[in-house]
Every structure is written in C-alpha cells, then in structure tokens.
C-alpha cells in the first residue's frame, strides 16, 4: 500500500525495516475519493495528514473573482499535507483532481514517530523542504518564465517525480489534467495553454493529450524550460 511512498523516500535515503514498519503502523484508515473533491479546507483545524496512494491531488488557492492558482501537484507516494502536522490548519485548500485513494495518518501517530525515530523524522522534514523547493521553482515559473517555458518546466518536473515512484512508461507518463487545470498550474488561461501545447507539439518536443504526456525530445524540452533537476534532490544522501 505504501510502496510508492517508500520509493520516494528510498530515492533520497535509506529507510530501515523498523522505520518502514512505523510508517505502516501510522496509517489510520484508507479512503477512496471522487475526482474534484475538496479534501482539506483552509483554516479548518486538522488532526491528521494525508498520504496519497493513488491518483492526482493539488494544493490551491482561489481569488474572489473565481481565478484559481494551483500551487503544487501531488503524485502517489506524496504526503499532500505533511506540513499540517506542525501548522495544524492550512492556509490553502487541497483537492483531488482524479479519483484518489488516500491513507489517513493521524498527527498523534506522526508525533510518536518524531519521539521514537529521529532519522525518519529528519527524512519527513526533508520531504516538507522538498515541497518548499518545488514551490520556489513554480514561483520562478509564474514570475519569470514565458508561457512555453512554464509548461515545459511542469512537464519535466512531473516526468521526474512520476519516474521516482515507478509511474512512467519510457518517455511517457499519465498526467490527468484538463487544459483548465494546466492553466491553473502555470498561471495562464486555457486558450493560452492550448496555443502553447500546439507550439510544443509542433517543435517536436512533447505531446499532451487525453491526460498523457509523451516527451519526444527531453533535452530540447529541458532546454526551453531551463530545467535543472537539482531542486528535486534526487540523489541519495544520509540524513
């Protein structure tokens, strides 16, 4: 059940059998959710964190005129809100994009991990720092990158994050987003995303259709995005 989560952690550090068992024991219940379901409402006091087992989720904020900014996507193996363990309530919402399966991890169980297992605690600290690094990269996109570079950067990021949890098929992977979702990730409009996808396709770099990304020219795509995977901290390190 937590295999993808373990893949994500073990890509960065070792996880001992004792730590693995502690993670398994920390799970309260497993829930199945429909697509487009708000799972966490901003401001609500939280007593658990959500580990995504299957599906695609996002963190987002809405403006009063209906505009939405998705601030991070979550793939299976990610905690969607490990930060709620210390924040206790969130400043943003979390919703499902596709149907999802999630594990509920009560904060009391996470507290026990922090008391008993300092190395696993550091590893979880690392993963919230990783989320922060991803947010910084999106900030660079939203503030400075051109439309084509924003979309290219997102496709590069999601390729590597999917790869870590064994969810790519060669140069192709599932990214079940509509053009509207995509626009909400990269701060554009669906029309602008449509034209940008056409340009990426015509340059022979990447194809996005029916929720699937197929990268034809990784180097070209990474080049346009100025994509440097350093911010994903993919190498193993003893924390």
């Amino acid at each position: 059940m937590i295999e993808k989560h373990l893949l994500k952690l073990r890509a960065r550090d070792t996880v001992s059998p004792e730590e693995e068992q502690a993670i398994r024991d920390s799970i309260g219940e497993v829930r199945t959710l429909a697509a487009d379901e708000i799972v966490i409402q901003a401001g609500k006091v939280l007593t658990f964190s959500i580990l995504l087992l299957d599906g695609l989720m996002c963190r987002y904020k809405d403006l009063s005129d209906g505009q939405r900014q998705i601030t991070e996507l979550h793939v299976p193996g990610d905690f969607a809100d490990l930060h709620s363990f210390t924040l206790k309530r969130l400043d943003h919402n979390i919703m499902t994009i596709t149907p999802c399966r999630i594990a509920i991890v009560p904060h009391a169980n996470l507290e026990r991990i922090t008391e008993r297992l300092p190395h696993l605690t550091r590893l979880y600290w690392f993963t919230t720092n990783l989320d922060a690094a991803i947010h910084r990269e999106w900030e660079v996109s939203l503030g400075r990158r051109t439309a084509i570079a924003r979309v290219a950067a997102l496709f590069c990021e999601m390729k590597l994050r999917s790869e870590v949890v064994g969810m790519t098929d060669g140069n192709s992977y599932a990214l079940d987003l509509t053009q509207t979702d995509l626009a909400e990730c990269v701060g554009l409009t669906p029309i602008h995303v449509n034209r940008t996808l056409k340009e990426l396709r015509e340059r022979g770099l990447v194809q996005f259709s029916r929720g699937r990304v197929t990268i034809h020219d990784w180097d070209g795509l990474a080049d346009i995005a100025e994509f440097d995977p350093a911010y994903l901290y993919l190498e193993k390190w003893r924390l």
């Binding site: 051109t146 439309a147 509509t178 053009q179 509207t180 554009l188 409009t189 669906p190 029309i191 602008h192 449509n194 034209r195 056409k198 259709s209």
Partner: protein
C-alpha cells in the same frame, strides 16, 4: 452548463479538442476575451502585438456560434 470549444485563428489554427464547461455563450465569450488578453500580454512583453487573430467559439457539433476578434479584447489608446 454546456461545453464550448474555443479555437484560435491567428495565422495558424489551434484547435481546442477538449472544450470548457461554461454556463452559457456569454461566459464562453468572456473566457475567449480572457484568453486573448493572456496571449496578447505575452506578445506585449516581447514587444509586438498582433491583433489580427480571432477566437471561434463552437459547440459540441462543431458549429461556430460566435467569432471573437482579438481586437475586441483590448481598448487601444494612442498618443494624446
């Protein structure tokens, strides 16, 4: 709600295969205008504006319901 397809014509043709669920044609027109402004804002940053394009709003059968010229998305003010 209905599904509207917002195709872009500006030199080339960028077909909208996916469409958007919107309340009515008026909302689709606003989505088209918002989209054009987004396209033009990037062009403006690169120092050129091409207002010759248009958005074709079509229904699920491919019937064009409304054409929104790029010009309708912005008010141009020249010197003075």
């Amino acid at each position: 709600m209905a599904r509207y397809y917002l195709h872009i014509r500006n030199g080339g043709y960028s077909e909208d295969l996916e469409g958007q669920e919107l309340p009515d044609l008026d909302a689709a027109r606003l989505a088209a205008i918002d989209g054009v402004r987004s396209l033009l804002s990037e062009e403006a940053r690169q120092g050129q504006l091409d207002l010759s394009g248009s958005i074709e709003i079509a229904d699920g059968d491919g019937k064009v319901l409304l054409v929104v010229p790029f010009r309708e998305a912005v008010e141009l003010k020249r010197d003075g």
